[in-house]
């Protein structure tokens, strides 16, 4: 199990995490080492075993269709790094 620099850069792109050159090298080594150790999972026979996403029996929990008060706009926007009027300000999405 060896993760190349290119693979690390591809995953970083998927995760939108910027990495320095040194971080790319280190992660390539660390992730390879971790995955190599976790490869023991492949030895477990899971034929016919369903996956478990969570450990309780609840399914499709729906809330009542009822209007409840929400936070005031000023409070929701209070932590925004950039805002304009009643909006979060974002950078250009379309050129």
């Amino acid at each position: 199990m060896k993760l190349s620099r290119e693979e690390v850069l591809h995953i970083a792109l998927l995760a939108r995490v910027g990495l320095t050159e040194a971080e790319v090298d280190r992660l390539s080594e660390e992730l390879s080492n971790i995955l190599e150790n976790f490869a023991i999972l492949q030895k477990v026979d899971t034929t016919g075993v369903p996956p478990t996403a969570q450990s309780i029996d609840l399914q499709n929990v729906l809330s009542d269709d009822k209007v409840t008060p929400s936070l005031p706009q000023t409070e929701v926007l209070a932590n925004a790094p950039q805002k304009e009027g009643h909006f979060f300000k974002v950078r250009h999405v379309l050129e």
């Binding site: 995490v17 478990t52 969570q54 609840l58 809330s63 409070e75």
Partner: protein, 482 residues
Amino acid sequence: MPTIHEANQLLKSRKLSSVELTRACLERIKEAEPKVHALVTVTDQLALKQAEKADRLLAKKDNHNPLTGIPALVKDNMCTRGVRTTCSSNILANFVPPYDATVVEKLNNAGAVILGKANMDEFAMGSSTENSALFTTGNPWDLSRVPGGSSGGSAAAVAAGEAIYALGSDTGGSIRLPAGFCNVVGLKPTYGRVSRYGLVAFASSLDQIGPLTQDVTDCALVLNAIAGYDSRDSTSVPHPTPDYTRCLSTELKGLKIGIPREYFMAGIQPEVEAAIRAAIDKLAGLGAKIDGEVSLPHTPYALAVYYIIAPSEASANLARYDGVKYGFSYKETDNMWTAMEKTRQHGFGAEVKRRIMLGTYALSAGYYDAWYLKAQKVRTLIRREFDQLFEKFDALVTPTSPTTPFKIGEKTDDPLQMYLSDVCTIPVNIAGLPAISIPAGFANGLPIGMQIIGKPFAEETILKIAYAYEQTTYWHKRRPNL
């Protein structure tokens, strides 16, 4: 510091006021913090106001909550309205939540006094608090050693007498490991028992909030206050909540306890094994029927299952930190993608990035089946194994950790070695079970924790066993010399 139940007696009999108790904690914080570094934020003015309010409630002589007027700390990943909640991360360094987590709301409704927010590994990812982007917390028993993590600030502060109790969160052992390392009681409730609303999400199928306290009675009292259904958490379970103090008795006759041999693996520190074996003998002396030859054969796979599932969930949960809605934002660019990448590059620490990368990899096209889905299937096998044992046993007893607290810096260069600290606690989160860590001895002046694992929603059984054991020992009464 007094325990909750001791302080409650003093408050009720008017021998002590909440303001006096709160001042005593704040004094202690001033004295201990330069050495322990357990707290990210101290809300002294707010705490004194809450204490004054609590004193007015206590004066009314009505039936008040046992937590009224008692000073507590909250791990810094639980939202506190108007009080900075950092997750010990640069990306949330200035985040002030506009709402309270359900557990915080419950403490407030109980008339509790909140002294501040406790340090942790960034986003609860770690076993030592060394991944905190702010500072590392020292173990009050030996300041050159780690307090365990990720709720290390909560555990160290309770051990150092900075608060009467604290709340922590536990995704793979983050309450129990620090409890064991700091000689306090720590409970991870059954998944779904305590609302996660307002808990900054790490791995949503594993995260659970629980108490860190000075003894088992206090643990039951705090669980009483925070447990219960909450419509704002869709994984909160609508089971009735008992009074957890009613199960506390010293009679263990008829209880069947299994000792899974995989938890006494190669590499376990001999003093830890000896202490836990001695504790098990005590449980037998109290009337419990012990079977020492029990097996959970999939235990060796639990670590890999956890470190695939938790980072996968984390990579999805942490996608929300894009520098737009709140938190740190990289401003020196007009490009949307560059801004997002730089925000996350500078906002997240090394371990958080490592886990986001690992999780993204395990979920990515071509690897999903081999890693994520495979881990979920082995998760099923681990849960089934526990279910089968619990047909025959009421509880399982193990060490909380294979070793006593390690040195600061000892494992920071080797992520896998650090991950191994959680080897005894992780299977419990994978299966969603309740488990408690209680003080069970010392080796070279360092605490040893014993873990008691129960059936889903059988917190009463493990509290009862923990309580019975505690009554026969003095470990929990020992305090570190700071």
